[in-house]
């Protein structure tokens, strides 16, 4: 069956053919835990809902699902939702990201060792 033409979007995977289940597990790193915490806190404060998180994840498309890690997709979606709800502007984000990047070459340096 050509699953691309059955009226479903890419994320609606139930029933499709796929390979064996891989049980590799990774420990969540600090930056991933922080992304998770930002989702819980910002949704709890009413900046967006879990449906808003999912909308952006789904609109990012299948290529993002295949090429980005889980929390990479989450921070992209959280950011989009926060911009839409007016928490900050894209200009403010760009300026802050430039400042962060200038601090150093590793996560530890860029997050000021925290």
């Amino acid at each position: 069956m050509d699953t691309k033409t059955d009226g479903r979007r890419w994320h609606d995977m139930g029933g499709q053919d796929a390979g064996p289940i891989c049980d590799d597990q990774h420990d969540f790193s600090l930056w991933e835990k922080r992304v998770d915490a930002l989702m819980v806190l910002c949704s709890g404060k009413g900046y967006f809902t879990v449906d808003g998180l999912r909308r952006v994840l789904e609109d990012m498309g299948e290529e993002a699902f295949e090429t980005m890690s889980y929390y990479e997709r989450w921070i992209a979606s959280i950011n989009q939702n926060l911009v839409e709800s007016g928490a900050y502007t894209t200009e403010e984000l760009a300026a802050q990201m430039a400042e962060v990047k200038a601090r150093g070459a590793t996560y530890g340096d860029a997050s000021l060792g925290k």
């Binding site: 609606d12 990774h26 915490a37 959280i78 990201m97 997050s111």
Partner: protein
Amino acid sequence: MPHDHHDHLSPSGHPYRADDDTPLSYWQTMEIAVRELLVEKDITTAEEINAQIDAMDARSPAIGAAVVARAWCDPEFKIRLLADASAASREMGFDIGPMHLIALENTADTHNIVVCTLCSCYPRNLLGLPPDWYKSRAYRSRTVKEPRKVLSEFGVTLPDRMRIRVHDSTADMRYVVIPMRPKGTEDLSQDALAALVTRDSMIGTGIATAPTA
């Protein structure tokens, strides 16, 4: 060039954790920037973020196991759990959050298994964060179509006569399986029973562990 950890010491002189010991990525940069903007604008604080991480780290399948073990020991509690799993879990003092939680009881005739075909919805307040395989294309795609084959890949082979019910989660509705109580556990305490309840047995990709003699 050989990988030299001495090039990657933090300002405190310790090496970064291996999984953080990579060049700063675009998405990590975004996480730091978003977090700092939220703190700068008084939407949250560093302390609140740390507290949320600690709260999430503290959640593990042990919470779900305590609920299951009580359901095994306390028939009245099991009735309440099956009627409203959110309320019954809160009764034990667990923070279930806004999600609607549904408990599914395995019986001699029926085995329940949980999936989220659309995304990665999971009873995280009861079991902690989901395992990577739960979020994978393979598990999401195949569980609703060939649950017996999926179960066999987890080492679970069920008799053909046993019905398998597959439950597809949504963002607002999460499931937890109450596995069958293993035989020969009549004399065990509730705490000892909880130790037999594995994460996978509460997702439905496993069964509760047999007691050691």
